[in-house]
């Protein structure tokens, strides 16, 4: 009985197994494309050689402090959003879950805004991502409490809509109270997201926090699979559901909170990419985690290259591009979901 089954198993897992390396290569190529893409034409390879040789030329500086951090942040933030979306969808058994839709991103923006404009973050310090993480953790906990009370799919989404509106309004309020005259105009950055003119400092600030968040979330993969049969079955399979919840809330807060603190809230990435990878890897939640992370990175990189290639000046915020793709997708999913009950 087992003998004829085995080839079929290998056959099925092959696309999934090749998908992660393929997506990783795609992300690598998009990082290079993003580095090559910008507002000033210069010899990138010469600049790279200068940079490696430690020659402090202007092209080397633009490469290492503008182009590379921008590309890396695009990949890091995108990976965080994609992975968090896949984890949240699996954990809540809800195909509409997404850090943006559930209000986690806007709450992270609120936390970062309060820390940044009050001057707590100084020029640029750990306080900034910690503010974002605190906001994200608050929202993730609130969503969790609602989910524990058995709120249905659409109920959770509506709660998320409420939470993001509230966080957005409080962000606007905080920016209006900010003493700096430019603050009020910067709400667009926080609510729509951008990677313009970031520096390597931003990368170092969020990278370690994100890595911890990713590991925490990836460690719940098996539990997410078990949870697809309900909490009782998952617990009977030996999963500590309190620990799983804690790892997901902490991981999502670390990854999304620190990302939003340096890039603003970029919506819909976490919603869209798990649905894009599922046809390739199947519906098992753990199978979509890594591919969703890489696909999220690819999506944000493509969006960030697009805003620079599009002739709109000043360049579009990233959230505008992701919403142009993501919002119709969400509406389609809602109709599909309603059709299925």
């Amino acid at each position: 009985m087992s003998a004829p089954l085995r080839p079929a198993i290998v056959e099925r897992s092959r696309p999934g197994r090749l998908l992660v390396p393929a997506l990783a290569i795609l992300v690598g190529m998009l990082v290079l494309a993003s580095i090559a893409c910008g507002y000033a034409a210069f010899d990138v390879s010469a600049a790279f050689a200068d940079w490696l040789a430690g020659r402090n030329t202007l092209p080397a500086l633009v490469l290492s402090e503008l182009r590379i951090p921008r590309a890396l942040l695009g990949a890091l933030v995108g990976f965080s959003l994609g992975l968090t979306g896949a984890v949240m969808q699996g954990y809540l058994r809800n195909p509409l879950a997404d850090p943006g839709i559930l209000g986690i991103s806007s709450a992270a923006a609120l936390g970062a805004v309060i820390v940044f404009y009050s001057g707590m973050a100084g020029a640029l310090s750990l306080a900034l991502p910690l503010g974002g993480i605190a906001g994200a953790a608050g929202a993730a906990l609130a969503i969790n409490l609602l989910a524990m009370r058995g709120t249905g799919t659409l109920g959770l989404i509506l709660a998320g809509v409420g939470l993001s509106s509230l966080a957005g309004a409080l962000t606007a309020l905080a920016l209006n109270f900010a003493p700096n005259p430019y603050a009020a105009l910067e709400i667009v950055f926080w609510l729509m997201g951008s990677l313009t003119d970031r520096s390597m400092d931003h990368v170092w600030l969020c990278l370690p926090l994100m890595l911890v968040g990713w590991l925490l979330m990836l460690s719940t993969g098996r539990a997410l699979d078990a949870l697809s049969l309900g909490e009782d079955t998952a617990a009977s399979l030996g999963f500590d559901l309190v620990s799983v919840r804690l790892r997901i809330v902490t991981g999502a807060a670390l990854a999304v909170g620190s990302g939003v603190a340096v890039s603003g809230a970029i919506g819909f990435v976490g919603l869209v990419v798990p649905h894009l990878v599922r046809p390739l890897v199947g519906a098992r939640p753990s199978a979509s985690l890594l591919p969703s992370g890489f696909a999220g990175a690819a999506l944000v990189l493509v969006a960030d290259i697009a805003v620079r290639l599009l002739p709109t000046r000043p360049e579009l915020k990233l959230g505008v591009v992701t919403a142009l793709v993501g919002a119709p997708f969400l509406i389609g999913l809602l109709f599909h979901h309603r059709g299925r009950g």
Binding site: G38, E65, N180, P181, Y182, A184, T196, S199
Partner: protein, 285 residues
């Protein structure tokens, strides 16, 4: 204060517009005694030219040390936020407004017959002189206007222009620059410099991406890093590693935005500082 950046952005974005005085519907009084100014640039001229007891109110922006060149003079003068209700309540006999700001309030005040003087955005020094004279005449002090114009001209005459036509690029918060054809552009040229924004100028809004600024081969990058000390993304950008490097190379010069937010005699000071920075930079090179 919140709208400061927006105002200066609009000021800059509209700098191509020359124009000095728009026709007023209601006749202007020869000697107004209750003057309300509804725009920062009007505030500056009113505070310099009018008697203190002629001024009923200026805008709240006049008191912001970062944006206003008359913040000291504005102390103790009543403020408005440029809302039509506030202005009507003050029963002014002359309202001075900008041609590009608080348009709905201005329209309302004109409809109810308020004596209104609208100021455009001059693109050269001749326009500045004309605007000073117009406001001075409307305030009933043409002599003070002549004195202020003489101030400006004296300031411009004493400037020793840069020895070489160095390339200058203005980077205001959020990357706004000085577009060709504007007063800022005239100021740069008066200092004997070349405005690099004219070359980059593919951007309708007047924003310069940081890396375009880095590669503009500007000898002088003009910033206002006399920040308020309170954080914003706009100010944070001025400390980006790329600009820090240019600063270390001595390629930046800091000039407060308040000196050339508005047309007035104070712009001569900008010409002077630019020329001085250019001389120092020439020696360095």
């Amino acid at each position: 204060m919140r709208n400061l950046a927006l105002l200066s952005a609009a000021t800059l974005a509209a700098c191509l517009a020359a124009g000095i005085v728009a026709a007023a519907e209601a006749p202007l009084p020869a000697h107004p005694v209750r003057v309300v100014s509804m725009n920062l640039c009007a505030d500056e001229l009113v505070l310099r030219l009018a008697d203190r007891d002629q001024i009923a109110a200026v805008t709240w922006l006049a008191r912001d040390p970062r944006g206003s060149s008359v913040f000291a003079e504005a102390a103790g003068v009543p403020l408005t936020r440029g809302l039509s209700e506030e202005v009507i309540a003050l029963k002014p006999d002359l309202v001075i407004a900008g041609a590009f700001t608080t348009r709905s309030a201005v329209g309302m005040l004109k409809r109810i017959g308020m004596p209104m003087l609208e100021l455009g955005l001059p693109g050269d020094f001749e326009g500045v002189r004309a605007q000073i004279r117009t406001v001075a005449k409307a305030l009933g002090h043409p002599d003070r206007g002549e004195a202020l114009v003489a101030d400006l001209d004296r300031g411009l005459e004493t400037v020793a222009a840069a020895p070489r036509p160095l390339r200058a690029l203005v980077m205001r918060p959020n990357g706004f620059t000085v577009a060709p054809g504007s007063l800022g552009d005239a100021v740069i040229r008066a200092a004997g410099l070349v405005n690099v924004a004219a070359e980059i100028g593919r951007d309708r809004s007047g924003q310069v991406p940081l890396e375009a600024a880095a590669f503009a081969e500007a000898d002088l990058i003009v910033l206002d890093d006399s920040g308020s000390g309170t954080p914003s993304l706009a100010d944070a950008l001025l400390h980006h590693p790329v600009l820090e490097q240019l600063r270390r190379e001595g390629r930046t010069v800091s000039i407060p935005n308040r000196l050339w937010n508005c047309p007035g005699s104070q712009v001569a000071e900008v010409v002077k500082r630019l020329a001085k920075a250019a001389r120092e930079r020439t020696v360095l090179q």
